[in-house]
């Protein structure tokens, strides 16, 4: 099926890219296994122990919104695509929406089960006609540690804000699907993708679907760049002929060589990268095993893009295994100080969006926004105000896993020692403090006076339910 985009004039007004801080070189994996099975992947991004597709989605979405004038509360459609949702069943978009402040009555769509989920999220959002739309794709695929899929698996996210009249116009789109069993799949109950590894067959499926979708576009696409799904660093180039482009049209924007297989986020990180570099005619092609492809042709001016700027940090293969939780056991059995899910939930506004209470009597801020005023002790009704996302470290300690509550045992086993700070946030001359973990840094690098910014991360999982909340990371002056 193909067609002119019904809602002519829908375009991207801003985009965000998020890539985790950690990197592993292909050589590290080659050394560990004696070979490296992900062709063309030089290094890849590795999620921290407290990251998942949802936290990466939140970060990319925050950046996409930052790149525009659109406020989260104005979003009418939130679409999220990933092959690695935190849970096999449960719609993650209500939580993602609350991380960001997207209204409860916005249309929500969740796409999963195929690496096409990213481009499908984009097309689905456009199809709802509800604008402005926020489209997010995030993924952190996983394969057996010694498999081509496992060697390729990276992590990253991209997000887009679409509006009527957005600068980067969606000109056309089309799709194509045909039955190719066994190219890439994940069995029920498994978190590892696998494939039969029949190279010529996999290649044929990819080329036929990509070519089929692009061929359905109504006009000669003639792109100056192609943001193409890239499960490894070799397969996408098999499609140059059918796309009628040279390898550079793909290579100049693909994330795969540096960040690995980004799953459903792969073509969308490439699209955002193309916007960053000012391309004007961008063909975006998502591909998922099964097999099928989506082709989206964008033209017009490039929308603004904000990219995560954290300095990357190389990890060894052993650190990589720890970060991914390949070597850690289950957390210990329960005990005291349990915070129930309902009591957790009622504080989510404060945890996700740093909502504090402002005292109507004395203006002082109290966090969390409940109980009596911290300053004048008046027990009244606070005005709820969002704190800025940047604050200052007041005091900090480094906690070893041995000194942390056992709820953090797995996090400690994966990520090692971590810093816990009390951070002060200031709003209109009023300061308020909260205890938070400082992530993405060596804990000893954190000191009082440092500037930090809030980010959403996993806190811990109990009874199968993951609690998410704010942590902070250092920002350069």
């Amino acid at each position: 099926m193909s067609g002119e985009s019904q809602s002519v004039g829908v375009g991207i007004v801003g985009a965000g890219i998020y890539l985790p801080r950690y990197r592993i070189d292909a050589d590290e994996i080659r050394e560990a296994w004696g070979r490296f099975r992900a062709s063309g992947v030089r290094s890849k991004a590795v999620a921290a122990a407290d990251e998942d597709s949802l936290t990466m989605a939140a970060d990319a979405a925050t950046r996409a919104l930052n790149a525009t004038e659109v406020e989260a509360r104005e979003i009418r459609c939130l679409a999220f695509g990933t092959t690695t949702p935190p849970l096999a069943e449960e719609d993650p978009t209500p939580r993602l929406g609350e991380f960001l402040g997207v209204p409860a009555d916005a249309t929500r769509r969740f796409l999963t089960g195929s690496t096409r989920a990213g481009t499908q999220a984009l097309l689905t959002a456009v199809g709802t006609g509800a604008l402005p739309a926020l489209v997010v794709a995030a993924d952190c695929p996983r394969g057996e540690p010694d498999s081509p899929e496992g060697h390729a698996a990276g992590a990253g996210a991209a997000a887009f804000v679409l509006t009527e009249g957005g600068a980067t116009r969606l000109a056309e789109h089309a799709e194509y699907a045909v039955d190719y069993p066994g190219t890439r799949f994940r069995e029920v109950g498994s978190d590892r993708v696998e494939g039969l590894g029949v190279s010529a067959y996999d290649r044929q499926a990819f080329v036929e679907c990509v070519g089929g979708a692009v061929g359905e576009l109504g006009e000669d696409a003639d792109p100056d760049t192609v943001a193409l799904h890239a499960p490894d660093g070799k397969l996408p180039y098999r499609a140059t002929k059918v796309l009628g482009v040279d390898t550079d049209a793909i290579a100049s924007v693909t994330p795969v060589h540096e960040f690995g297989d980004l799953g459903a986020a792969s073509p969308l990180v490439a699209l955002a990268t193309a916007l960053e570099t000012g391309h004007e005619r961008i063909l975006t092609v998502g591909y998922g095993s099964g097999s099928g492809a989506d082709a989206l042709l964008f033209d017009g001016d490039s929308a603004a893009v904000e990219r995560s700027e954290a300095e990357s940090e190389q990890v060894t293969y052993a650190e990589y295994l720890r970060l991914r939780g390949e070597l850690t056991g289950d957390p210990p059995a329960g005990g005291g100080a349990a915070v129930s899910v309902p009591s957790w939930r009622r504080t989510r506004e404060a945890r996700y969006r740093l909502v504090a209470g402002q005292c109507p009597e004395c203006d002082a801020l109290t966090y969390p926004p409940e109980g009596a005023c911290r300053a004048c002790h008046t027990l009244g009704e606070f005005e709820r105000v969002a704190l800025p996302r940047r604050g200052e470290v007041e005091t900090v300690t480094t906690t070893s896993p041995g000194g942390a509550p056992p709820e953090f045992a797995q996090f400690g086993a994966q990520g090692g020692d971590f810093a816990v700070a009390i951070v002060a946030f200031e709003r209109d001359g009023q300061r308020v403090s909260m205890p938070v973990q400082v992530v993405d840094t060596a804990p000893e690098a954190v000191a009082a006076g440092d500037t930090v910014e809030a980010t959403i991360r996993r806190i811990y999982t109990q009874e199968g339910v993951t609690r998410y909340g704010t942590k902070v990371r250092l920002v350069g002056e």
């Binding site: 504080t347 056992p406 909260m434 205890p435 804990p443």
Partner: protein, 410 residues
Amino acid sequence: MSLSTGGGDTASDVYLVGAGQSPYGAFPDESYRSLFRTAYESAEQSAGGVDPGDVDEAFVGTLGVGGRQLGLAGPAVTEHVGLHGVPCTRVENACAASGYALRQAVMAVKSGMADLVLAGGVEVMTDMSTEATKYWLGVSGETEWERMAGTTFSGVYAQMADSYLREHDVSREALSHVAVKNHANGAKNPDAHLRFTCTVEDAESGPVVADPLTLYHCCPTSDGAAAVFVASEAVAQSFDEKVKISGVGAASDRVGLFQRDSYTSVPASKQAGEAAYEMAGIGPANLDFAEVHDCFAIAELLAYEDLGFCERGEAGALATSGATAIDGEMPVNTSGGLKSKGHPIGATGAGQAVEAFKQLTGKAGARQLDDPQRGLTHNVGGSGGAAVVHVFEREDADPVADDENTEVVR
């Protein structure tokens, strides 16, 4: 607040007439009941015998680490020791549970409703896996916020230490001096949990628990129980040993450190100390010793300042100078403190009163001070959400001279 106002019975004095404790340590063969029995019998013996029928009231402090008897933990131990039918209330204020139990006992006597009251506490902390024990160590932090940031108490006190050392430009060695002193004292206490001495080098090179605190700057988790008998002035006359409880002060604060006005002071300690001094009509200069709440070495330094033993920022120098050693001008934690004697949470406050009773009745053995007249105990719950201070004095204590400076150092 002060309890020294009012008429009738409330104006008469209240006395400790017996005090005892179990050894503190790790005792796989003991239960919370058997430990409490040991403490009860020790207290009863020190009182020269107590008829259970004469006990009007009982208050038992316990946090309930491990879960065990979370409900009715008080009657569970008082009935076990034969205080049959005696009304008993469990007091929970984290690590200050039995300090507050003692205060409740004083209030019961002051109210005129009771003449002889048992105050005690008990905790068992070593019969679980290390991981399971840690579940319980952070239960008195702000569980929904501090704990969810990944800290137990070591982390919160480490944040206080980080602030204090930086604000006053004090080196971490000052913390190690506290540990060395308390271990030296505890080594002389047959009831202490960790009866070994250590050096500053040992303490400095210990494994880091929560930066800047090393293992030597943290108290152990202990099993143990303590109990005291509190009597009205009239009833106290029938006992041989009497120590006057001349001052009581207590205060609460926000449970989470991040919610408080200061990270380098425990405001509740300061407020409790001032109230106790006022009620006792003395100042810190009139004390001959103190048992302070040193769950972490930084806590002892903050106590020096909050209780007026020295000026703000001077606690590190005070500890390093030796002034608070057993042979110093102001011995602190002659029992070994929480650091060496041990910290069975619910028993700690009552256990401090046991040390005060022993020192003031000349029964402190190898760590006996030379003729002390007055002492203070200071018991903190959590990182400062609750604090309680008691001032004890010998029945025949030298009067405080009018011209002596009773002003609390601010």
